[in-house]
């Protein structure tokens, strides 16, 4: 069945779309809204590449039905620079070259932004890194990502 859903994405006015009931938010974002920054990795909730924020909280868009985010605010990597915390994360990733192939990077950037907002600016790096465990980098480029976390923690993005 297909029915209409009002989606609020990246601060824009709610947009009404006809979406199949069983469609995942990941597919709506990529294929109906053209927001290809959100990546499909495992599609089983293991890799974090598809992470978006729903009402500010990190959410796996591959395991979320589009209709379930009706009336909630969705933020993808394309909108993350509107958020001061998101800008800090982007600057730190750029300064530390915290990416190799880049496929996992949108998920890491969105996740880290959500985690920083949820845990608070004074959270120790170890807690932030533990909360980042849901994001996998198949290039294993973790050291630069950890340096980016530390750079933000030092207030020097």
């Amino acid at each position: 069945m297909t029915s209409e859903v009002a989606l609020t994405v990246n601060g824009a006015a709610p947009r009404r779309l006809a979406v199949p009931d069983s469609e995942r938010l990941l597919d709506t974002l990529r294929w109906r809204l053209g927001l290809k920054g959100t990546k499909e990795g495992c599609r089983t909730g293991d890799c974090g590449a598809c992470t978006v924020l729903v009402d500010g909280e990190t959410t796996l868009s591959c395991l979320t039905l589009t209709h379930e985010v009706q009336d909630r605010a969705v933020t993808t990597v394309e909108g993350i620079a509107e958020d001061p915390e998101g800008r800090r994360v982007l600057a730190a990733f750029a300064a530390e070259d915290a990416l190799q192939c880049g496929y996992c990077t949108p998920g890491f950037v969105v996740s880290l932004t959500g985690i920083r907002k949820e845990l608070g600016a004074s959270a120790p790096d170890s807690a932030v890194i533990e909360a980042l465990q849901g994001n996998l980098c198949r290039c294993t480029g973790y050291l630069a990502i950890v340096r980016a976390v530390a750079r933000i923690g030092n207030g020097n993005p």
Partner: protein
């Protein structure tokens, strides 16, 4: 697989939709972190999902010595509650063990109970503290211990037109949940061990996950754990009893023999850890 989705706003409407199979097999949808995977690979044949998202069950409240957790409260909110970590540390540790933070923003305690997976990280601690599940159905409300609610692997005592409404969990400051995995993050536990001692019980309760057919208490191990600070030789007897009496599975995560050895180690670890105050673990 495609399906239709209903998003009722009231319990009465949700129960009516669940009882109605005219559109094909119907299933309740909580966080969906397990059910949607089953739909993807055909393990679930549901053709209509009834979302519980709009029901007033995202609640968390202490009622004297018991914690009431609404069925659809996201696990992340349970995990970040400081009173739960102080008064029911084993429950917080079980929540920490489930998936990633992003997954816990959607996954729920009701969903974990209703899906009754053998490797659940939450069922062992619910069994060890003797939690009660509260159900609501067209025929009215009833409640029963989690131990009786779990009927087998992915089987629970829940009628078609019935839903888990909340879980009532007694305070247990002496409680913990420990686990072992191939990878610490984002993996399924090979074995999990929960131990707890609460006011009403004469001994520690001990429950295992990663066993067949579903997480279960091991009374043969509990009989050795009567003292509040069990002696090392009693812990040894309990560890061996748990390894002997549980039924283990061999699967891609571990062999039966490995799980058996693992359990004994985790029982020793759990009994020691449960006696450490939550803030110092």
């Amino acid at each position: 697989m495609t399906f239709s989705l209903a998003r009722p706003s009231t319990i009465v409407e949700a129960l009516r939709l669940l009882a109605d199979d005219t559109e094909g097999p119907t299933a309740p949808l909580a966080g969906g972190t397990d059910l949607l995977l089953d739909l993807d690979d055909g393990r679930s044949t549901a053709r209509r999902l009834v979302s519980l998202d709009k029901l007033p069950w995202k609640t968390l409240a202490w009622d004297g010595p018991r914690l009431n957790v609404g069925a659809t409260l996201p696990l992340a909110r349970l995990g970040s509650d400081a009173t739960v970590r102080a008064r029911l540390p084993g429950l917080s540790e079980g929540v920490d063990a489930v998936g990633s933070l992003a997954l816990r923003h959607r996954a729920t305690l009701g969903g974990n109970l209703g899906r009754a997976a053998p490797a659940s990280d939450l069922l062992p601690i619910l069994l060890a503290v003797d939690a009660t599940v509260r159900l609501v159905g067209t025929a009215g409300r009833r409640e029963l211990p989690v131990a009786r609610f779990l009927r087998g692997s992915r089987q629970v005592d829940l009628a078609k037109d019935e839903l888990i409404e909340s879980v009532s969990i007694p305070e247990a400051r002496l409680s913990t949940y420990v686990w072992q995995r191939v990878r610490p993050a984002n993996d399924v536990s090979q074995v999990g061990v929960a131990v707890a001692r609460s006011g009403s019980s004469a001994s520690w309760r001990l429950a295992l996950g990663g066993v067949l057919p579903v997480p279960t208490r091991i009374p043969e191990a509990e009989v050795h754990l009567t003292e509040e600070r069990p002696r090392p030789e009693d812990v040894e007897l309990a560890a061996n009893a748990a390894a002997t009496h549980a039924r283990f599975v061999t699967d891609k995560r571990a062999s039966e023999a490995y799980r058996r050895r693992l359990v004994a180690t985790l029982v020793r670890r759990a009994v020691a850890r449960a006696q450490i105050p939550p803030g110092e673990r």
